[in-house]
């Protein structure tokens, strides 16, 4: 049974459970609901919950775990000599999956399968006709694996349908058997709902576990086939898809920091000065118009900034600055990406700084103005020093944002890994390389692909450290005036 109908049947069982549970409770007291512990709908609700929720959880868990189980079985069927030299079993497995998928699709379109399965090359042509391209010629053992995969998938789905329906029926029966006038249905429903609430808030924890787990797992995998020392201390980045690449982290980190530094040089003065003006000088009406307008910059998707860098800022910088100054003739450069990213980061600096400047107690300003300081002297010598920790926090958050930014640098900074000081040269960043190493059909066993996970872990650690530092600074400052 396919998933859609299965889910619908379970939901229908739940609805039936609600109606039966309710009616059963009323019937037990012969319609006099004052004798029930809870209102009748609660008896229906707990029945429906016990029917539907465990079965749906089972389906979700089954679907997540299923591939791991059935693929190991198929993998063991692939003969060792069918795995091309230098390629991993995972690559062959990908083909096996495509064959299994393709055969199912051919069957759906009414093509006779049996003669095709006998001749691998005919099968390949037929699959090509159905727009399924195989990396390698299917062999007898991969065909057997594909068949095993299809059978395993079919029987797994069949078993899932049976087990899920059984679980739903069990839940229904159990819930109905418990219904008596004394049964505390409301409390049971609420306890159940509470568990659902807890489970929902655990999704956040699970996400973190998933991120850290997958990054760590693949990074360890990477360091098993590529020396960690070379990754951390080499200054050369030169991936070769035939092996023998040098994958040094430093050119990428340098590019990332360079772009982020330019972005902050643009964003911090502009953001900070506009925050000061808005908080201290601007009239109420100016503020109510200008603040949202600046915040629009934060709501624009980064792909828009990327295109802006690519078609407007890049050529402009190249034609009017880099080329006349003899600094290079590439339209994608550190300067392009940094400038555009600076524009993007302005609202992060200005909004947070604005909040923090507003949080400085008015008494400090009044004291300073009262002894004769001008407003600007008050701001520079009293308000800013008082707000400094918070402003530093805002800048750090902006920096973490700039370091993790992807689209602007992918489209504006270039792809060449270089350690250079010239801001008009194309350089690359950690995020750009994560994208370029992981897009396209790649094998998940080569160091060239796995390095992306090590880069991801580096990026995650770096931004997390900046965020935590910023949070600590901001929190400490908040306590000062509360």
């Amino acid at each position: 049974m396919s998933l859609g109908p299965l889910t619908l049947i379970i939901l229908a069982l739940g609805l039936a459970g609600y109606l039966i549970g309710r009616r059963r409770a009323i019937a037990q007291v012969a319609g006099d609901i004052r004798k029930l512990h809870s209102l009748p709908p609660f008896y229906g609700r707990i029945t429906a919950l016990l029917t539907v929720v465990p079965a749906l959880f089972l389906i979700a868990a089954w679907l997540l775990a299923e591939p791991a189980f059935i693929e190991t079985k198929a993998l063991s069927l692939i003969a060792a000599e069918d795995i091309p030299a230098g390629k991993s079993a995972a690559l062959v497995m990908a083909d096996v999956r495509r064959v299994a998928d393709g055969v199912a699709r051919l069957q759906d379109s009414g093509i006779e399968i049996a003669p095709l399965l006998a001749s691998p090359s005919a099968l390949k042509t037929a699959l090509n006709g159905a727009a399924i391209v195989l990396e390698t010629e299917p062999t007898v053992s991969t065909l057997a694996a594909a068949a095993a995969l299809r059978d395993a998938l079919a029987s797994s789905r069949f078993a899932l349908s049976i087990v899920a329906l059984l679980l739903a029926a069990l839940g229904l029966g159990f819930a109905l058997s418990r219904i008596t006038p004394e049964y505390r249905a409301r409390n049971a429903t609420e306890r159940f709902a509470m568990w659902l609430l807890v489970a929902s808030s655990l999704v956040a924890v699970l996400t973190t576990v998933g991120i850290v787990g997958s990054l760590l797992f693949e990074t360890i995998h990477f360091f098993q086939i590529y020396p960690a020392a070379d990754f951390f201390f080499s200054t050369e980045w030169n991936p070769q898809f035939r092996g023998g690449s040098s994958l040094g982290l430093w050119p990428l980190v340098w590019g990332t920091l360079y772009v982020s530094a330019i972005a902050l040089v643009v964003a911090v003065p502009i953001g900070l000065m506009s925050a000061i003006y808005l908080a201290e000088y601007a009239s109420r009406t100016t503020r109510s118009w200008v603040k949202p307008a600046i915040e629009i910059l934060a709501g624009i998707p980064t792909i828009v900034y990327g295109l802006f860098a690519l078609i407007t800022v890049g050529p402009l910088l190249r034609d009017y600055f880099a080329a006349p100054l003899g600094l290079g003739n590439s339209s994608s450069s550190v300067m392009t990406a940094g400038l555009v990213m600076g524009i993007m980061v302005i609202p992060f600096v200005s909004s947070l700084s604005d909040d923090i400047i507003n949080a400085v107690p008015q008494s400090l300003r009044d004291g300073s103005l009262g002894i004769g300081a001008t407003p600007s002297e008050t701001i520079r010598q009293v308000v800013i020093p008082a707000a400094l920790p918070g402003i530093v926090g805002a800048v750090l958050l902006a920096a973490s944002r700039a370091i993790g930014e992807t689209m602007i640098v992918v489209m504006g900074a270039g792809a060449a890994a270089k350690l250079s000081l010239n801001p008009f040269e194309a350089m690359t960043t950690v995020t750009v390389k994560i994208v370029s190493q992981l897009t396209g059909d790649t094998e998940f066993a080569s160091p060239e692909t796995l390095v992306a996970f090590a880069l991801g872990l580096t990026l995650f650690t770096l931004t997390l450290a900046l965020n935590i530092l910023a949070l600590i600074i901001v929190r400490k400052y908040r306590e000062q005036y509360e």
Binding site: I211, I270, M273, L307, I346, S376, F453
Partner: protein, 438 residues
Amino acid sequence: MTRVSLFAQDARTKSRNAAEKRFRAYGLSAIVVALLALVWLLVSIFGNGLPAFRQTFISFPVTLDAAVLDKAGNRNVAEMAKTTTIGYAKLLATSLEAELAAKGIDLGEVKSKDLTKMISEESPATLRNRVLADPSLIGQTVQVSVLASGRIDGYYKGRVSMESAAKDKNTSPEQLALADQMQSAGVLSMQLNPGFLTMPDASDKRPEAAGLGVAIIGSLYMMVVVLVLALPIGVAASVYLEEFAPKNKFTDLIEVNIANLAAVPSIVYGILGLAIFINFAGLPQSAPIVGGLVLTLMTLPRIIIPTRAALKAVPPSIRDAALGVGASRLQTVTHHVLPLAMPGILTGTIIGLAQALGETAPLLLIGMVAFVRDFPGAPPEGLFDPAAALPVQIYNWTQRGDPGFVERASGAIIVLLVFLIAMNAIAIYFRRKFERRW
């Protein structure tokens, strides 16, 4: 000691006042710079993108000759399908030639092979589909309006000039001159191009035919997945943390987690999606379901944070009153607190969805960059079909060789921005309409 008037400022006061003025000017100019950057960005995108909504069309009558299109003469669709697009292209070219001769336009140096090049390579396929869908058209003369090729279109949008055409093997100055004649004869004209919103992507050589149809459907599917998953989970998590969670280490752990997840770079979610959903769980690449799941995880903290703020804004007196008349804690929340917090929750959710709609980087990693021409099926099975997404389609177009795609990418950004503005406007409307001060 010299006496000075109180009304004349001394040098020190003057310099202090000047410093004050300068400081104000810095602040003002910072704001002006920020706003100018915004204006520059929008002008650049709109200036480049608006032409994408208009397209050059060539209109002329075509005689659908049965001898060419249906050799057997029995109107059998399967047999008619044997006539390939090349046959239709020839038909279009001869019809256009006849039309030009009728209008008295001299082809000059342009050969009829070049005339074919002035028509988009997509047009024969479109005509073929039209004929196969309605075989009764055969033998009739129908008025068609076909896309002009990307170069001709570029000529009217200022991308192609006589000089650049001379160096271009895909067009020639003679073709452009002929196009001018066709325009004055009314055969060729610029019209609104609804196909930009409805057609699927087209290959590298046919920028004039590329559209956003598949991308809009793909993005829509993903948004539905995000809404269906992130809203209930986000609200449930917020309700737990705000209303029920005991103050202990475990609750702190969840809270710190959510705060950190909100600041994790989006590309990291892409890596997560690739590792968990595609490699481990074996879900298909470039499917809206995977994109939706990744964006759900990314959007969750962005929904939880405003939802908690909205719950916190409901005064405790409401809860006290409900508990006082005998409601249970869960009833208090579901009957009173949640309905009162709903406008705030919906506002936060819509803004979270808008952010998810514009997100690109994680989708690149889960294979949404693939070239997809087929529309995905109806949900729920369609969620597993390959599809594109709006922001990734934009990125995809910027990576193509033909300069016509830059205009397409900017046009697609206008579409994306229109969606975002609409979503934010709804959010602001909700906030204005239902905002309550206690």
